[in-house]
Assembly symmetry: C2
């Protein structure tokens, strides 16, 4: 950590954090709303910062009149309960530490902070922007106020999935059992180096803002879905164990099948809420069919999909299959331009498509159905 801030100088802290994408979801219901305690454990993969990154700068000064926050250049309401939870919790930890260490000359806790956060990807389009954002915010504030310890507990209170974004690689959010949430935290299952062949393609269907924010959706869900509790209690625990084992064995077929089943079941519980929530649109459904037909053609689970609270598909596959699968997407969702900018991020080699494969998939092409693809991979969290 750095030293506590003393005196009147303005202190700046600048941090990066990567987005993390769920492969096993707890979205869809919470057992405690304010503390953000989930109804089941969950798992995610942290992605490379080059492609999906939040950069957060925090500053404090005795001259600041009040706490303020800017997201992507636009000032937002600092009084949002979740931002307040993070600020309050970090200040409480800082106060506790200082009283433990008797740093009585420190005055920075009285200082107000200015927070500035920028994403290099669309906010609230189902691309895990709040996970990366809150993880980065909490980490930056912890550096500013000189706080150590289990920061995933703090990040969780900003946005549940943010707790997983504090770590790189494959990360589990253990739901915990305690009422106060002190055991509801993130833990790395395997580091990013564990499965270097694993690749991630984000198929961006639409950058429009979602009709229903995922939070309001979740709250409705936990109250009205009759299937959600059954999923949390009876389906997820067993599948979660299978998933961790599949990752540890680097068994792509098992990993892929569980990922698809979890995504579908999550969206099933969204549809079972009242009124129902739809995150998948026609293009999402078409991507799902395409993946199943692709795998069917090879009699092998080579590619898997998962969808968060939006229509964009997150595709996992092994690096050998990336060039061909990109060509499949390009063929069935012909891009607007000549395709030069269709794939962003990690470079993808050329590949040709066999007529057999095209025929086996046999879907009607949808021009411009996919805006672009972000090609990325598993990485560290970006935090030191």
């Amino acid at each position: 950590g750095i030293s506590p801030v003393v005196g009147s100088k303005k202190t700046l802290i600048n941090c990066l954090n990567a987005a993390s994408f769920s492969i096993f979801r707890s979205l869809g219901g919470k057992r405690h709303e304010e503390l953000i305690l989930p109804i089941n454990s969950s798992l995610s993969v942290t992605l490379h910062q080059d492609q999906l990154k939040t950069t957060t700068t925090v500053a404090c000064s005795r001259h600041f009149q009040e706490d303020r926050i800017w997201l992507n250049g636009k000032e937002e309401d600092i009084n949002q309960p979740r931002i307040q939870s993070c600020l309050r919790e970090i200040r409480r930890l800082a106060r506790k530490r200082r009283s433990d260490e008797d740093l009585s000359n420190d005055i920075s806790l009285a200082h107000r902070v200015h927070i500035c956060s920028v994403n290099n990807f669309p906010t609230a389009a189902g691309l895990a922007s709040s996970a990366a954002g809150y993880a980065c915010l909490v980490y930056s504030l912890s550096r500013l106020f000189g706080v150590d310890g289990e920061l995933s507990l703090v990040a969780r209170q900003g946005s549940g999935s943010a707790c997983r974004s504090m770590y790189g690689g494959f990360v589990q959010w253990k739901m915990g059992e305690r009422q106060d949430g002190k055991d509801s935290l993130a833990e790395q299952v395997e580091p990013e180096s564990h499965w270097p062949e694993l690749r991630v393609l984000v198929l961006v269907v639409s950058a429009e803002r979602k009709l229903v924010g995922s939070t309001s959706g979740m709250q409705t869900s936990v109250k009205t879905s009759k299937l959600l509790k059954h999923r949390a209690d009876c389906v997820v625990p067993g599948r979660m164990e299978e998933m961790i084992s599949a990752i540890q064995r680097r068994d792509f077929a098992a990993f892929g099948e569980l990922t698809m089943k979890d995504s579908n079941q999550f969206h099933a519980t969204c549809l079972d809420t009242y009124p129902p929530i739809f995150y998948l649109n026609d293009i999402s459904q078409k991507v799902i069919s395409l993946v199943h037909r692709y795998n069917q053609h090879y009699q092998d689970t080579r590619v898997t999909y998962t969808f968060d609270a939006g229509p964009n598909a997150v595709i996992y596959t092994l690096e050998d299959h990336v060039p061909e699968f990109i060509q499949v997407v390009r063929y069935f969702f012909p891009p607007e331009t000549n395709g030069g900018e269709f794939v962003k991020g990690l470079p993808v080699g050329p590949a040709s498509l066999s007529e057999d494969l095209k025929t086996a998939i046999g879907l009607e092409p949808v021009p411009k159905g996919i805006s672009y693809i972000i090609s990325t991979k598993v990485c560290d969290s970006g935090l030191p």
Copy 2:
């Protein structure tokens, strides 16, 4: 009944039957495939024959070489197991009755039958064509061979939902408990005269054939969905009781809410199958939003939707609300032509739309999203 056929003359029987639409579904899983025993009880409403009708003609003659069947003018395979089940079961009942009554001179059982069935609505577009078709087939064969008794037991073995189509009004299919299925039969809950204000609008989204036939979908579902059994065992029985009570009280708000929740949960279990099944498309989702926003505007459940194995919406409402709701659909799904043929079936009076209501619904209109509307109501089955 008519007399058994004797000698060489050709005997013709001509029957009508109405389609019936589920308001509580058992689709999505069967406890016995061949006997078609469902995993939960279900409920449907039988509609007026003028709008959705099957006409079946059966003939038998000593000169016919083999059993044959034509659907909408095209010969189909008579050896389909479900058609065979119905033929076998009717002949078995006829044989039993004749041996009971010692009609030893009767020879018509050896005669082959020709079956000709015509729908006045698109086949396999999720418009309950198989329900009406098998109900009509079984009734026609029963007349031909002089069979009485619980024909819903026979119709069930053709197409599960056909057993409910044997009766008019509000019909329950009791799942039963016996292994041999003898107690899995249809029963009228209330006759068509019970709730004369109830009206039905079928919003035909697409007359294209479905990607996945509902039967193959169901078989996958019962094997792979982890939510389906929970729904059948823990959710449906309670809701079914509430639904019957709502119908008996003519409580539209309760009826409407249960109908929407059951439809959504059914489609949730389809999405939870592996690979997932999608019957709802973008237009279906838009109709769902439209209904919720319409009800929200009036702070009252005035309109309800339900979807079978296809994208077409079946709307229930009370007759007072029909003209305005039709205008709402016309406004948000502007038809191709001047709209003269947009509404088929029962005539609908004029209505105007307030700007308030348009603003409250606030969806982007989708030209030609709905091909046409069938305006109909609850009726008898059409069978004598």
